[in-house]
Symmetry: C2
Subunit: 347 residues, 2 copies
């Protein structure tokens, strides 16, 4: 332990709550000496962090499905890392784990904090480190349970997913394809669209940036039998447009609304929501934590698909803790191509 | 039959599609000679018609859950009446029936048209003629199945219903109370609120006209444990306000949106719809026709409650076919107190 005691832990803390898009001014870079683990505790080293649209919500004040990050607190982030020092019988130095690391290089946890931070060993034979932040991580679990439990896909149905090249979208589209659905993605730009069709095997992908009627026309063209399931990651105009094409008893999974997170005006409500009435359809929200007890089952199933090639994954890896503020901005401009990962230490 | 052949049938036909609130100019009054029933058919006399918010939607062009009323067509309306002449073995002169009468005094149907117009005998021992347009009619069926199938009320849960003094609202609130829920209505004006609490036994009723924060404050006061089920008949601001008070796994039944039907601007989408995500809640539409096979079961159950006094009903009866345009207007101004009925002939 003595050689760890002089390690410096660099961190990003929330300095102020953003109005609109987060800026550098919303963060303070801090550093502190790494603490040795208490009895029963662990010292973890961050290897890679998951950057997710949900982080924007955690920066806001007010009630949500999870408490906001307090001003002055290390920014919340899930990640993968390695045990540097262990006083816990079930963890050995060198073990790989996923956990709520926060945007920092090291994390010291007491025995009571392990569960609260979701510390769990990960098996790199099932997937790579970055896949453990993608298909096998929170976004993958979100996509899996949102699709399977709320969407309840039936073979032959048509599924549409927005943010198709993102972490959740990849999982949803590929799982729906495996379950026998016609799968149509919505993504920004031809590169992402080509990839989800060419690499992931989606039936089609609509480039929402291709013109003002791109989504409307694309749905008409690629969903000739209407939309049975819409997995919504974006909200706004795209949600409203899909609502005009849903079938009877359609299911709309509300997973996120990235188009609205940086609004300085009120959220744009779906003005076509009465399509739910006309079509006896359902719009339902999902929060991944509710399914924690069933993560292992979903991980096992999807690790099998990764292994046999029925699922693929793509991560967009940005290097270095200091790149955090800029990297987060990529999510909201749609610049990331694949699941956005911040690599904090070499592996 | 000979004495029926000179009867005049007065009618209201749709002359033009309204922009905003319907006006007299949207209707043409027509008359024609009553036709004798063909072999296997019926001649029906209208006694009373049901005036419902949904009629506004039928006046619009465009795809909905039912075809629009065509220009020049007799306005669609459900009603109750009597068999004046019968060539059908299952109907006798004098039988009471419910049917899609249209806004007219008489209706002649061929044998193929009986099912299409939903002709069914009604039993006045189960409820009065006007109750057959209210709790035992379409609004009652809408409330019953929306609540029971989509809302799935559990004893101890809190239900909120808007349009509480209206036809659907009466049914929903009283059924939820019978099922053991805490029931809070939303209605316009103290008279309606006093009635749903004093007569129908709701736990509370919020007068949405009492001030700009009346609904917000009322929900806070009367739903101390939050809202588990919201049965929405109105949409707009009230829907948005209720969305801020829902519990985890709440169910929102989208039955209508009377606040939006006469808009000349786009429908106001629920800007707080992301509360569905935070609360893992569901918003689902209902169309009553889907439950036609189960109407008898719901009628039998609620007729029992009417008989033993556990349910009451209130109808607001307007006299005379010619009053139709003005009576319809009462719905949208909220002037009607109870289920709005147009009495076409004395009973």
């Amino acid at each position: 332990m003595s050689d760890l005691s002089h390690l410096i832990n660099h961190q990003f803390r929330l300095a102020s709550r953003p109005v609109g898009l987060p800026t550098q001014a919303n963060w303070s870079r801090t550093q502190e000496l790494v603490q040795a683990p208490p009895p029963g505790g662990l010292l973890l080293k961050t290897l890679a962090l998951s950057l997710d649209p949900a982080m924007r919500g955690w920066m806001n004040e007010g009630k949500s499905y999870i408490a906001p990050v307090a001003i002055g607190e290390v920014m919340r982030a899930g990640g993968v890392g390695q045990v540097l020092a262990s006083n816990h019988p079930q963890f050995a130095v060198g073990d790989y784990v996923s956990a709520g690391f926060g945007v920092q290089e090291y994390l010291t946890l007491g025995p009571d904090e392990l569960a609260r931070n979701g510390v769990a060993k990960i098996d790199l034979r099932l997937g790579s480190l970055t896949q453990w932040l993608n298909v096998l991580g929170m976004p993958g679990m979100t996509g899996y349970f949102g699709l399977m439990d709320v969407g309840q896909p039936q073979a032959g149905e048509t599924l549409v997913v927005s943010g198709a090249a993102g972490a959740v979208g990849q999982t949803v589209g590929q799982m729906a394809r495996i379950k026998g659905c016609r799968v149509v993605g919505i993504a920004g730009g031809p590169a992402k669209c080509d990839w989800v069709v060419g690499e992931l095997g989606f039936d089609a992908c609509i480039d929402y940036k291709a013109g003002p009627n791109a989504v409307k026309d694309g749905l008409k063209q690629h969903c000739p039998k209407g939309v049975d399931i819409y997995f919504d990651n974006v909200g706004g105009e795209i949600l409203d447009t899909v609502l005009t094409r849903i079938n009877r008893r359609a299911r709309i999974i509300i997973c996120g609304a990235i188009s609205q997170y940086n609004n300085t005006t009120p959220v744009q409500g779906p003005k076509n929501y009465l399509s739910l009435l006309v079509n006896r359809a359902r719009m339902e929200g999902i929060v991944v934590f509710d399914y924690a007890a069933r993560y292992p089952q979903a991980i096992a199933e999807m690790a099998g698909y990764l292994k046999d090639g029925r699922m693929k994954s793509k991560e967009d890896v940005v290097q270095g803790l200091d790149a955090f503020p800029d990297a987060l901005g990529k999510l909201f401009s749609g610049e990331n191509f694949g699941k956005l990962v911040l690599q904090v230490a070499p592996t």
